[in-house]
């Protein structure tokens, strides 16, 4: 990939992340940290590519560990975030759903 294209992607992504978080109420900080923890679980995809290209034994072993860890990040991040968010209920349940 062209270095400048990458720079543009990085720059825009950085501003996006900043914007998304800056309007979050304090009560959602922990779930959001957990949610963003889940989002970087996309590393799983890269780990799969690395393992899929591995040739020697060492490469395969490290690639295997990468996929293992990446899957743990993605799945674990999702489960704990969902469990946390499940608990946010308003006292007037009907109205909040609308």
């Amino acid at each position: 990939m062209d270095g400048f294209t990458a720079l543009y992607i990085f720059m825009l992504a950085a501003f996006t992340g900043y914007e998304v978080i800056s309007k979050v109420p304090v009560i959602l900080h922990t779930p959001l940290m957990s949610g963003s923890n889940f989002v970087h679980g996309i590393v799983l995809v890269g780990a799969m590519v690395a393992l899929g290209q591995a040739e020697t034994g060492t490469e395969t072993l490290i690639g295997f560990i990468a996929v293992l860890l990446g899957a743990g990040n993605a799945v674990g991040g999702y489960v704990v975030t969902e469990r946390m968010l499940e608990m946010f209920k308003s006292s007037n349940k009907g109205a909040s759903k609308a």
Partner: protein
């Protein structure tokens, strides 16, 4: 054609991640947010099986996803809400480790990468390794594993850490600039030193600062993932990684600000190193029994409850919710005041209270409620200490001076539920406990709270 499908799937996944995070920013949509992001993750993962660059090890891939995902699923479902912070640290560490391992595979191949790509691979390896081992130490500390708990310091620690970091970076640069000429041994040493630095950096940091540290490592993992995404030419990783990197950095800053301590202060541990004599405490602690405390609250107009980490440890949130209910039924106005760093994570208390069934519109931030303490009849402090310590306002020599606190001492009466007479996490004596309007209710949080519920019911 496959190329097109894969890229399209990654593009959709990136959109879903950002949309999901955005949804998570409001309590009503938060749950759908994680589900959208989850859909993006599933899509990206499934499509990767037809990725044109993958040509072997499919069985191993499925096996690794099964084991890693299965274990994470099991632990994530089973863990108690109070232990959430360390689980986040653990899963985050895994992500950092995965990013570092990807770099490991790429660098092991020693294929002739352009300098920029090789630099990014090394940088991602460094950051990912630090996030990995650092998060694991944070996990161990929060889990209360003996060898890591507490603050571990030794002489000229900062010098040692700085030199370790310097040497690691230097070796990393050598690898990045030597094309394909670096030896595997150099690579090995590089990873070992980076991992060691993550451990060394986290050891001296105390439990109270862990939320900030976990958030920082979360941001670091995001960056590492983004950089490795560039190495692999994977835009979904680049976008998701950098979005988390910058969001996490902002979150870390917000947390450090809430504690009124610059991040550098957290990392290089100046805590407890207050200069000069602390102000002497005047007065004495005055105990109260549950029935009397119950009467005070039952006949009050307004009660503000201040929960802290102690509530989580005692698992008292359900009893507190019951107390809230019986008081509300008697016409008492009950509100919760949450300090930004109460518990081990910002929002930790909110999550626990939400779990217990306390409606979130009864829960207020420091800024929203601090003026109201003056009109409250009772401030009930349960398991909180430093966040209500008035010396933060009055004593410039105190290590917590300047930290914004909840003005519990402005309430007409203060009741503190506490296990023993010790000081808070910071080790600072709490002057609130010695104030004339303060009564101490000693005992286990859960037991005391249920006594209060029964006493109020009997009135």
């Amino acid at each position: 054609m496959t190329d097109f499908i894969v890229n399209l799937a990654y593009f959709i996944a990136a959109v879903l991640f950002i949309y999901g995070l955005k949804q998570m920013a409001s309590p009503n949509n938060a749950r759908s947010g994680i589900q959208w992001a989850g859909a993006g993750m599933v899509l990206a993962t499934v499509i990767t099986f037809i990725h044109p660059q993958i040509h072997s090890n499919y069985i191993l891939m499925i096996l690794a996803i099964g084991i890693g995902g299965g274990l994470a699923w099991y632990t994530g479902k089973r863990v108690a809400m109070t232990d959430m912070p360390q689980m986040i640290a653990l899963y985050n560490g895994m992500g950092g480790g995965a990013a570092a391992a990807i770099a490991g595979v790429e660098l092991l191949k020693r294929h002739d990468l352009p300098l920029g790509v090789q630099l990014m691979a090394v940088l991602g390896a460094l950051i990912g390794s630090i996030a990995f081992s650092g998060s694991l130490v944070a996990f161990a500390k929060l889990q209360g594993i003996k060898a890591f708990s507490g603050v571990i310091r030794f002489k000229s620690q900062q010098m040692v850490n700085a030199s370790l970091f310097g040497v690691t970076v230097l070796i990393g640069l050598v690898i990045a600039f030597s094309g394909t000429d670096y030896s595997l041994f150099t690579l090995f040493i590089f990873f070992v030193l980076a991992l060691a630095f993550g451990v060394m950096m986290t050891l001296p940091i105390g439990g109270a600062d862990m939320p900030v540290v976990i958030s920082l490592y979360n941001a670091l993992t995001g960056l590492a993932v983004g950089f490795e995404g560039y190495v692999l030419g994977n835009p979904a990783m680049m976008i998701a990684g950098i979005v988390v990197g910058s969001a996490g950095t902002l979150l870390t800053q917000l947390m450090a600000k809430a504690m009124n301590r610059p991040i550098s202060n957290v990392l290089f541990s100046q805590f407890g190193g207050g200069t000069g004599e602390a102000q002497a405490v005047t007065g004495s602690m005055k105990a109260i029994e549950s029935p009397d405390a119950a009467i005070m609250m039952a006949f009050a107009e307004k009660v503000i409850i201040i929960p802290g980490y102690g509530m989580a440890v005692a698992q008292a949130q359900h009893k507190i919710q019951e107390l809230t209910k019986v008081l509300t039924e008697r016409g008492v106005k009950v509100k919760f005041a949450i300090h930004p760093v109460a518990g081990r994570m910002p929002g930790h208390m909110n999550v626990l209270l939400a779990e217990a069934g306390v409606p979130y519109d009864m829960i207020y931030d420091l800024d929203e409620i601090n003026e109201e303490f003056g009109t409250a009849d009772v401030a009930l402090v349960i398991g909180a200490n430093d966040v209500v310590n008035p010396v933060a306002r009055t004593d410039p020599n105190s290590p917590i001076f300047g930290m914004p606190i909840l003005n519990a001492d402005h309430a007409k009466n203060v009741i503190v539920i506490k296990r023993g007479q010790g000081a808070g996490f910071s080790g600072v004596e709490n002057h609130l406990f010695f104030a004339d309007n303060c009564r101490m209710l000693y005992g286990d949080g859960q037991k005391v709270a249920s006594e209060l519920v029964n006493a109020v019911k009997e009135l």
